[in-house]
């Protein structure tokens, strides 16, 4: 009996939190909103139950696939950068990180996103509302729903520029296949963007310099799953390369919508509800 109670005690938190989650979160009772017949919903417009249902209908686990075809609309949850593998900052990196600290403990007032400055790469991937790969003969396009922007990955054999004439928020990108893995290398990044917001406390962003390089490996594990490993290499800021591995899931019944970041709307939102709510202003 004592063992039974101990087991019960050990499992109760998990059982109860699962029960809360089931009781609270929206499910299939929520109608899927589409623009009309023939149109699909957007990746972010579906809840977890919708996604599970549509993936089941599309038989994503058993559907045949070509490992060299990564085209399609992939999950809305992005792959957040792995904080467990975050390397220590260099002294210069620490200084850049400290400079991103918000004035208020209650919101990320210095986030460039607040005024719709471009997210840049890799933040567009790590914080996304869904992305679509489109493969063309000489390039692969990566479209991002959040900010409604794209990146061109050239596959025609060209090399990365050794000294880019102008820095880009989305960088310069080239790709090639190594077996069944699509390898992307990128450089030439504008250093005004963040690698990512720091979700620990929401007061900082992870910085980078214009010397940052990003290397990605994409491998289609099956029809419904795309494994992505993204490595940030910026020795001026991070003492070691910073790698994140995650899986994006296919959204067989979704298509990208139009999430524009509109500066006037964002500023109006911040002034209308965020700034007046800040008790530390």
């Amino acid at each position: 009996m004592r063992k039974f109670v101990i087991s019960l005690i050990a499992f109760l938190p998990a059982l109860l939190s699962a029960q809360f989650a089931l009781a609270q979160k929206p499910g299939l009772e929520v109608p899927v909103v589409t623009p009309g017949p023939g149109w699909k919903t957007c990746p972010r417009c579906e809840n977890d139950a919708h996604v599970a249902e549509e993936r089941k209908k599309a038989n994503v686990d058993t559907h045949p696939f070509d490992p060299h075809d990564i085209s399609g609309v992939w999950g809305d949850n992005g792959i957040e950068l792995d904080l467990k593998t975050l390397p220590p900052f260099t002294p210069y990196g620490q200084m850049l990180y400290d400079a991103t600290k918000s004035e208020s403990p209650d919101w990320n007032s210095k986030d460039p996103m607040n005024i719709c400055d471009p997210l840049g790469y890799p933040r567009a991937f790590a914080y996304n509302y869904g992305m679509e790969f489109i493969q063309l003969p000489n390039r692969t396009l990566q479209f991002f729903e959040l900010s409604h922007t794209w990146r061109t990955i050239w596959t025609d054999g060209r090399k990365l520029p050794s000294d880019p004439p102008i820095l880009r928020f989305m960088g310069y990108s080239v790709g090639h296949w190594e077996g069944e893995t699509f390898v992307v290398e990128a450089n030439g990044f504008d250093d005004r963007s963040w690698v990512s917001e720091d979700r620990r406390g929401r007061r900082h962003g992870f910085p980078h310099t214009s010397e940052m390089r990003v290397v990605e490996h994409y491998k289609r594990l099956d029809y419904g799953r795309l494994q992505a490993t993204l490595t940030v290499i910026d020795p001026k800021v991070y003492t070691k390369p910073w790698s994140t591995t995650g899986i994006a899931t296919l959204r067989p019944n979704a298509e990208l919508g139009e999430y524009m970041c509109v500066p006037s709307d964002s500023i109006s939102f911040n002034n209308g509800n965020t700034v007046p709510a800040d008790a530390h202003k």
């Binding site: 109760l12 609270q24 929520v30 972010r44 417009c45 919101w107 509302y129 709510a277 008790a279």
Partner: protein, 157 residues
């Protein structure tokens, strides 16, 4: 230790565990808002169906009978489609609603919206990702809301 005491202790620890689970955060996090939720019956003045976050502005009578305008934020339109099937037509100026909100810590008439009902009790948005909190904190808000509604309903009879 008796089994009963052991069980009570476990429940207490469980409460602590559930309070320490990090909340699911929206873009700005939820540190701007008070933990305690309030309910307000009012009239929609404006429904701003736009990114980055949907805003609802409503008027409500304060204790002195004076109309006060409140602002509350929700998630993005896309997220609200997912969470409640909401669209640009869900609310319009003049709609009578009950807003369940976490008010701003600053004391201003600003808030994050946790639930929306029509004045007749019909649910408009049951679950708001923007309101944040752990599952237990959400469940506690729901329990408090239901208890307050039950008490109000009892008072009317």
């Amino acid at each position: 230790m008796s089994l009963t005491r052991m069980f009570i202790k476990a429940l207490f620890v469980m409460g602590l565990i559930s309070m320490t689970v990090p909340p699911a955060l929206a873009h700005h996090g939820t540190a701007l808002w008070q933990d305690a939720e309030v309910a307000q019956q009012g009239t929609v003045v404006q429904y701003v169906w736009r990114n980055p976050h949907v805003l609802v502005i409503w008027s409500v009578k304060d204790d002195a009978g004076k109309l006060v305008q409140w602002t509350g934020e929700l998630a993005s339109p896309e997220s609200l489609m997912a969470d409640g099937g909401m669209t640009k037509d869900t609310l319009k100026p003049g709609d009578e609603v009950i807003m369940y909100v976490r008010p701003a810590k600053s004391g201003a008439a600003n808030s994050v919206i946790d639930q929306i009902k029509r004045a007749d009790g019909a649910m408009v948005l049951r679950w708001s990702r923007q309101a944040g909190g752990t599952e237990e904190q959400r469940a506690a808000r729901t329990r408090n809301r239901e208890a307050a509604e039950a008490a109000a309903s009892k008072g009317k009879k």
